[in-house]
Symmetry: C2
Subunit: 323 residues, 2 copies
């Protein structure tokens, strides 16, 4: 079996160097906060996808794919910094979030700094289509997060609305990572669209699994407490599905707990148990698996290669991950 | 006398349309917050500079200069949204700030949305140099704001540090507005550099006057309370200068007040009076005037025109404004 990350280990090491170069600043707090988040065990999922999609279409990796892989991780990190302020999150990857340690102001500004550096990398590569892709991507991400914010504190969200939401807030960036790999290799538009859709479906599955883990994972493993979404009054797919199955009394109690600002462990467990009992976890995991299958199908027409195998394994990893 | 804004009134109206087009979104809170800030009496100082610098070098204004003037106002507005969260500001232009009305999260995300839209406008214009200029500009702005954040709560800042700070946080964007006007007209590098420097010096004066108004203005006029910088524990030029003249006792009392979290009106007045008595206001206004004189000199070699006169009047306006 081809380990997806070992195939591009050399490139990923260069990506680390690229990232490090782009968080340097005379204002010493910037690299300090940048390092805290950028070198705290991120999986480099998006950079790996960009490099693998680029290599899928050529035989070797280009200097540009390294730079742009770094760029996409900077964008991702900038959005994490901002989202953690928006959500008043205490933890990120099991350690204190930047906003907890350094305050909201520093997190916002370092996020802005990283967005700017991402732009500079794109300018140095010099492809206007890539800059346009990222502009549209970050627009959709902020729209997704705003939509989520407007839904906070309501259980009145349909599965379709949920899917639109996670498409914007998560899938679009992963889709763009794959699309940029294709743009770099001057792929024809149908090939570019296949890889973009591959990334999009992968991204949908990625977020659904994330939301499932919030109901089922151990906080030590995932690096954030179980029921964090519930605490933040965010209704995700497992709950949206289970709500339809609950009787009137269960639904009413769930709503009451959901809307309470401080929830006890028993409160959280009450909802988690109901969601499990009514198959919300199972339903969501099946949905995620469907997205993964349909992502993998997009790769059918590509000839077999180590890169293709690596992309297929990465797809499985999205479903199998426990953190 | 040529009124600087009436000369380009037609263009500025088109800029309003361009801005309005770029804050539309299916997520209705985005245009709502965007309008709140973008149509609340901003002076369109940066768009006007960009258009005037472009017209200075050609005979008519281009479609691109309208788009980019809108772009520069979107960037400016995005940074205001973020800065108001960083500073926990209650007021902006005399009305409730967006973070007060809609919360920190919405302000951060709408700021990110506007940055993305600004990128899209630049992509549609298609000049890589302009995108590079803005990337470097927003990088420096975030560095300036971070530097300011790291200085909060200390009076230990030199005039040189202050000048570096305001260069990054304010002058660089105004300089870029002028530079982009020149880039649009394919100006030679010495012309481009002259207009960039003109904008930079104008921007330095602009921020110094802003800081002076914080000591001397009526809150109804400027739209924010007097002593706001003091409240936020920011030492600006009038205070930095006056501190050097104070005796030990005055300095000690000033420090004590400055570092207190809640300051009474008497406390604020004590410092304002000392700053005035020791000539901090006068010194700062003279410094601003020097910057304006040196900005105007940069226009010496341009043949006389309505646009040149308008730029000279805009320069005077920076010094004369009371809000």
């Amino acid at each position: 079996m081809t380990q997806p990350f070992s195939l591009i280990q050399h490139e990923l090491e260069e990506v680390e160097t690229e990232i490090r170069r782009n968080i340097s600043s005379e204002v010493s707090l910037i690299p300090e906060i940048g390092e805290h988040l950028l070198f705290s065990g991120g999986k480099r999922f998006r950079p790996a996808l960009l490099i693998l999609c680029s290599r899928l279409l050529s035989t070797k990796s280009s200097k540009e794919s390294i730079s742009l892989a770094g760029m996409i991780e900077l964008i991702h990190t900038a959005t994490l910094l901002h989202d953690d302020v928006v959500d008043s999150a205490d933890l990120r990857r099991g350690v204190e979030s930047a906003n907890t340690r350094w305050g909201n102001g520093a997190s916002i500004l370092v996020g802005d700094f990283l967005f700017s550096q991402a732009s500079s990398i794109m300018v140095s590569v010099g492809d206007m289509r890539i800059i346009g892709t990222i502009a549209l991507t970050t627009k959709k991400m902020s729209e997704g997060e705003m939509f989520q914010l407007s839904l906070e504190g309501t259980l009145n969200i349909s599965e379709d609305e949920y899917l639109t939401l996670i498409n914007n807030k998560t899938a679009v960036l992963i889709a763009s990572a794959c699309k940029i790999g294709a743009i770099l290799e001057n792929a024809k538009s149908d090939i570019e669209e296949k890889l973009r859709t591959f990334g999009e479906k992968l991204g949908m599955a990625f977020q659904i699994v994330d939301d499932v883990l919030d109901f089922s994972s151990d906080s030590k493993e995932i690096g954030k407490p179980v029921g964090k979404d519930l605490t933040e009054q965010k209704a995700t797919l497992p709950l949206i599905f289970a709500l339809l199955k609950m009787d009137k009394q269960e639904r009413s109690k769930t709503e009451k707990i959901f809307l309470t600002d401080t929830k006890s462990k028993e409160d959280i467990n009450y909802i988690v148990d109901l969601v499990t009992k009514y198959g919300g976890i199972e339903y969501s995991m099946n949905k995620a698996k469907e997205f993964i299958e349909s992502a993998k199908e997009k790769l059918n027409d590509f000839p077999d290669s180590d890169e293709k195998q690596a992309l297929l394994h990465l797809s499985d990893f999205v479903i199998e991950r426990k953190t």
